[in-house]
């Protein structure tokens, strides 16, 4: 029998039991819609991570003191940042590694900052004049501090947007003086807002000052906590990171990698961890969504079995007038696939709506890709074939005489 006729018969059978068909499709609709929404959520999360990496620069490398590695050998180990063995000399040596274009030492603390009658507790980060460039951070107004400021530990600073809004609600802070732990700092510039960070933290709640100033005047330390580096191109990051690790082990006379007192990480590495997290999450949600699609498929199988039983005489008659095994098989398979495909299309539409609703109402990033639509569509079709095959087979294998006599 020709395909158009097969389809026509299938669609007519579906129309004949409108409510039953609609309820059967509902299972597939919900399944497909949740698959679409979950993929959209996953792609959205990945896209926003990618965007943040782009913003940070893909060629950034961090060297931190302390180790994230697994503890071993029984030695007492501090976490990253708790070790005081990372020095300015290390930083300078690292900047000599081939492929490193910029380097900034980094120290960090928290302090109460005061301006006029306003005060605010914020993070204070210290870097050198290249710090902003490495972090791909621009100034909204004012100017960066100079190498000389760093050299002489000048009490100057740059303000993040949140700090500006809290200390200078209606004033231009550039040129003003704020007090950090009771030391006067002159405000040189204001940073452009970066918004929420990777974990929802406020990236603009900070002030940046020369690291020398923070070391001497605020924290009273001589070591540094981190070194920020940028490599000349992002393809080279891996190699540069390996070279730095080798150099640091040499400098710190470490033979066993388990005893590293430093950690080298790249932005890409960090992003990879988070992409993996996002993927795990998406996978989890997807499997829940797939279960509902599976249940939808079972619904189709159930209704097709009922339909085959109800139409036993029709099947017998079709066989008597010349329908072959494959004609009957195709007819019922087409019916099951039509149910699942029509349900799939409706489910895709619903899934797109739900995804947009999540973005709109909950602010979660979602992204509908053509791949996800194709995958969902193919999945729906496959569910129809898989769950429709058994009932169709049953119909096709009926004995025509018994089927004709069936009451």
């Amino acid at each position: 029998m020709r395909i158009q006729n097969t389809l026509r018969i299938a669609l007519r059978a579906i129309q004949r039991n409108k409510i039953r068909s609609a309820l059967t499709m509902l299972g597939v609709i919900i399944g497909v819609a949740s698959v679409i929404a979950m993929i959209a959520l996953g792609s959205g999360a990945r896209a926003s991570i990618d965007q943040q990496i782009q913003a940070q620069g893909t060629n950034v490398i961090f060297v931190s003191s302390g180790s994230f590695g697994r503890p071993g050998g029984g030695a007492v180990r501090g976490g990253a940042g708790s070790v005081t063995t990372l020095t300015l000399d290390d930083a300078k040596a690292i900047s000599e590694v081939r492929g490193v274009t910029r380097m900034s030492p980094m120290v960090r603390g928290r302090a109460q900052v005061i301006a006029g009658d306003q005060n605010w507790n914020t993070s204070v980060e210290g870097g050198n004049e290249d710090y902003l460039a490495i972090r791909n951070w621009a100034l909204a107004s004012g100017a960066n501090f100079t190498p000389r400021d760093v050299l002489v530990a000048e009490k100057v600073c740059l303000l993040g947007d949140t700090v500006v809004r809290n200390l200078f609600p209606d004033q231009d802070p550039v040129g003003q003086v704020i007090r950090v732990k009771n030391l006067p700092f002159r405000v040189l510039g204001v940073l452009v807002p970066k918004g929420q960070g990777q974990f929802g933290q406020d990236q603009d709640d900070l002030i940046i000052a020369p690291y020398t100033t923070i070391q001497k005047k605020l924290l009273g330390i001589t070591y540094i906590q981190q070194v920020y580096l940028s490599a000349d191109n992002s393809d080279d990051v891996e190699r540069v990171a390996v070279d730095i690790t080798r150099l640091m082990r040499q400098r710190h006379r470490i033979t066993n990698p388990e005893e590293d007192d430093f950690t080298v990480r790249t932005v890409e590495e960090m992003a990879a961890t988070r992409v993996q997290m996002a993927n795990t999450m998406t996978g989890l949600l997807m499997s829940v969504a797939s279960v509902s699609l599976l249940v939808g498929g079972i619904g189709i199988m159930n209704i097709m079995l009922v339909s085959v039983t109800e139409r036993t005489r029709e099947i017998g008659l079709r066989m008597a007038v010349g329908a072959r095994t494959r004609d009957i098989l195709r007819q019922f398979l087409a019916e099951a696939v039509s149910l699942s495909v029509v349900g799939g299309v409706a489910g895709i539409a619903l899934g797109v709506l739900v995804s947009q609703g999540m973005t709109w109402k909950l602010g979660w990033p979602t992204m509908i890709t053509s791949t996800s639509i194709l995958v969902a569509f193919a999945f729906a079709g496959a569910v129809g074939v898989f769950f429709g095959y058994y009932p169709a087979r049953k119909a096709a294998n009926l004995d025509p005489i018994e089927a004709l006599r069936y009451e």
Binding site: M1, R2, N5, I9, R16, R313, E314, G316, L317, R318, M319, A320, V321, G322, A323, R324, T325, R326, D327, P400, I401, L404
Partner: protein, 259 residues
């Protein structure tokens, strides 16, 4: 589409036809060796009580079932060993069925019911072609006006006429009618028999009529009686009934008289 019959071969020839079923522990012998020839263009009535084997015989002749023993030659070709699909193709091309309970598809127009066999004959033709052919046959059985009625909008006699139109749509050689008048009143029965006699006479379609009513059997040229799976008598009908003449003699009734 029919292949030329082997010269001298009757349309249907069965040799020592046997059929047995296993029902639980018992083996039921429904046919115990039947030999018969049916020539092209004949009108044979097969009679017998229920359980006589006449339905089994018809199922085998109609290629709905396979014999357990013996041979069945259709146009000289041994079809007793044909598998499901080859039998389906032959049924589609050579055999039209008319059943006691009409077996029309519910909620489907008369026209589409008649078209049904055309869907399975392997020819690519347009919907219009199918409609035209089906409509022509409905007109031939006097139902041209009711082509778009569904079975529940038609009387029993009208439904059976739709079923006859359906049986004819693929120009079969054989029309197998299984108790076609079993669910109809006597007047409508005569009308149906008139159509069958006319088809036999004008189109030379071989008619095999299964019935348990002896007076209905006498519309045929030949009556074969079955009992316990065997043929017990096979005789020509001496005074054959003529349905057209009987209808003319009946007082004109409803619109159905205009067949």
């Amino acid at each position: 589409m029919s292949t030329a019959p082997v010269s001298g071969e009757p349309l249907i020839r069965v040799v020592d036809l046997r059929k047995s079923y296993v029902l639980g522990d018992v083996t039921v012998h429904a046919l115990r060796g039947v030999d018969m020839e049916i020539g092209a263009g004949s009108f044979v009535a097969i009679v017998g009580a229920s359980g006589s084997g006449k339905s089994t015989f018809m199922n085998i002749l109609g290629l709905l079932d396979r014999p357990s023993g013996g041979r069945y030659f259709l146009e000289g070709q041994d079809v007793s060993g044909f598998d499901r699909d080859r039998r389906a193709i032959l049924r589609n091309r050579k055999i039209g069925f008319v059943f006691q309970n009409f077996n029309l598809l519910p909620r489907t127009s008369a026209l589409e019911n008649v078209e049904l066999p055309l869907l399975y004959d392997g020819h690519a033709r347009s919907g219009e072609d199918r409609h035209r052919k089906a409509l022509g046959l409905l007109q031939a059985v006097g139902l041209g006006e009711r082509a778009h009625h569904t079975p529940n909008q038609l009387s029993g006699g009208q439904q059976q006429r739709v079923a006859i139109a359906r049986a004819l749509v693929n120009d079969p050689e054989i029309l197998l009618a299984d108790e076609p008048t079993g669910n109809l009143d006597s007047r409508t029965s005569v009308e149906i028999m008139e159509i069958l006699q006319r088809l036999n006479r004008e189109k030379r379609i071989t008619i095999i009529l299964i019935t348990h009513e002896h007076d209905i059997a006498e519309y045929g040229q030949r009556v074969v009686a079955f009992r316990d799976g065997r043929v017990v008598s096979d005789r020509a009908v001496e005074s054959r009934r003529d349905a057209a003449a009987e209808l003319a003699a009946l007082p004109a009734l409803q619109e159905e008289a205009a067949v």
